[in-house]
Amino acid sequence: MTTIAGPILRKEPRSRPMTTERPWNEADLIAGCRAGRRDAFEALVLAYHDRLHRIASTMAGADAAADLVQETFLAAVEGFARFRGDSQLATWLISILRNRFCLYLRGQKKWKLAPLPDDGARLSSPEPRPVERDLRGILDQAKELSEELRTPLVLFHLDGMSYADIAKSMNCPIGTVRSRLFEARDRLKRLVLKAENR
């Protein structure tokens, strides 16, 4: 007889603190941004910046995160007229971030031109904080996954998004999210095992 204790199979939604100085509901925020109001844009950045930065940092690394998030907000400000409100603001912003990340991966941006010294002394960002060796290995291998697999993995495990929201952000059916997550975890496991056996 197997017993599954309690509701462990149902994941608890993670709380996402809003850091705006004054309360904005989403509809007001959208209307304000569409009208080009500076206070609305500020509230948008305060509300979503840290979350996007965290995702960008995990997907692309600390060096590229700030640029990706900046690009995302610039594109959002330019494109607000086209946002119809069918999806949540956060989902829409993450879909733009993902798009910028794809461009970044395709190497269409110029910010990687300046050469860095071979000895690893990074001039543009501080050293990453120490992370347990095993977890570091998994994190490094996750960055070897293709964008299509890495993005749902990060959005699910780091940000706690549902399949439906990931599907909207990635503009694909929910079934695709499910299969990509399966493949991402499976492939990651194989990459980690391979690295350990080296």
Binding site: M1, T2, I4, L9, R10, K11, E42, V45, H49, D50, H53, R54, S57, A66, V69, Q70, F73, L74, V77, G79, R82, R84, D86, S87, S95, I96, N99, R106, G107, Q108, K110, W111, K112, L113, A114, P115, P117, D118, L123, S124, P126, P128, R129, V131, E132, L135, L139, L153, V154, H157, L158, S162, Y163, A167, N171, P173, L181, F182, R185, K189
Partner: protein, 377 residues
């Protein structure tokens, strides 16, 4: 439920994405299967480890705050620009810093000719980048003028509506943003057939999306070309073909009228220049007396588009050649070589983007002229 079904459901179960009924079915199987129970425990542990690993490296709070402050400042200062000058400044700053470090540790100096080549390459790159921005500005201007010319007419004039939708699609392509997901698109076309072990149906919705349901499962694609490219085997198996607005499955077919098809082509993003001429021909046909007149007006319009297709502006950005020279002169031999390699790759990409931008510009220009014709009619 078999062990194979259970294994397929495990990920979704742990992710909290199974329905209550599916979960109940899974639990019943688990009660009777020790292998699946063990596998589930291992998988649960692996999921936890992944979550822990991805969350392990939190960004430096100072860097996050600095990024947030930078964006707030940029938003407050002026309308956003596609390539913020701050990035160019940062690029130069990084370059200079690297140069200083390289000099300090005494790496070997590169030959003058190599430095000169790199400087020339970097100047050309800045020039192309400026050209790209200028072309993008031109496109945005043409699209804005096209929208203005047909403003308020979309409800009563299908050609004006076509222009409105086409300008939106071109703007999207310019920004390279994904289209917003549609939540409640209605079906416009469908074919259902029985055979080969079950029912197969293909449906196109009014946002252009295609859904194919087979006994093996359901798939979705953005539009018909997307379906044919991504699922060639399935299309071959069920003899699915056609284009947006004209579906085929074996000997069955379904289609919408020209206007409906135009709508689908625009919404699904498969609109192209040929179709623009078709739209124009359709519009002229309602106003010209005979076929010759229609073709004459069409040719005149194409001629005007071609004549105005040349770039109006070259680069308006002054290149700071001195700064580039200073930066490169501080490089070591190895850094010059690596920069040269990267530059070659980036120039290739930049050329591709310029080519794509030129294509977009021609289409935006054609749309503007088309819109002006309609606006003056």
């Amino acid at each position: 439920m078999t062990c194979s079904d259970a294994r397929e459901a495990m990920d979704a179960l742990l992710d909290g994405e199974l329905t209550a009924a599916e979960e109940t079915e899974f639990r019943v199987h688990l009660d009777a299967c020790g292998d699946c129970e063990r596998e589930l425990a291992e998988l649960r542990e692996w999921h936890g480890t992944i979550g822990e690993a991805l969350s392990a490296e939190a960004p430096d709070p100072a860097a996050v705050a600095e990024s947030r402050r930078g964006i707030l400042e940029a938003l407050g200062a002026s309308p956003p620009r596609r390539v913020p000058l701050a990035r160019l400044a940062a690029l130069l700053a990084i370059g200079l810093s690297v140069g200083v470090v390289a000099s300090a540790v005494g790496f070997s100096r590169p030959p003058e000719a190599q430095v000169a080549r790199l400087v020339e390459g970097l100047k050309q790159q800045e020039q192309r980048d400026a050209q790209l921005r200028a072309v993008h500005q031109e496109i945005e201007q043409d699209l804005a003028e096209a929208r203005h010319a047909v403003a308020g007419r979309a409800d009563r004039d299908p050609a004006a509506r076509a222009i409105e939708v086409a300008t939106t699609n071109l703007s999207r392509r310019l920004l390279q943003d994904p289209p917003e997901p549609e939540s409640s698109a209605a079906e416009v076309l469908s074919i259902t057939r029985n055979g080969d072990g079950g029912t197969v149906s293909i449906v196109q919705k009014d946002d252009g999306r295609i859904r194919v349901q087979t006994p093996l499962g359901t798939i979705e694609a953005r539009n018909m070309p997307d379906l044919l490219v991504r699922y060639p085997d399935l299309c071959r198996r069920y003899s699915i073909g056609g284009s947006d607005g004209r579906l085929q499955m074996a000997d069955s077919s379904a289609g919408v009228d020209w206007r409906g098809r135009l709508d689908l082509l625009l919404r699904s993003g498969t609109w192209d220049e040929t179709l623009q001429w078709e739209a124009y021909r359709g519009w002229v046909a309602g106003r010209a007396a005979d076929a010759k007149d229609i073709e004459r007006r069409l040719k005149a319009h194409q001629e005007r588009c071609r004549a105005s297709g040349e770039p109006r502006v070259e680069s308006s950005l002054a290149i700071d050649a001195e700064s580039i020279l200073r930066r490169v002169k501080a490089f070591t031999r190895e850094e010059v070589r690596r920069s040269q390699d990267r530059l070659a790759a980036e120039m290739k990409q930049l050329d591709g983007r310029l080519k794509e931008a030129a294509d977009l510009r021609a289409r935006a220009r054609g749309l503007r002229i088309f819109a002006e014709d309609i606006g003056h009619d």
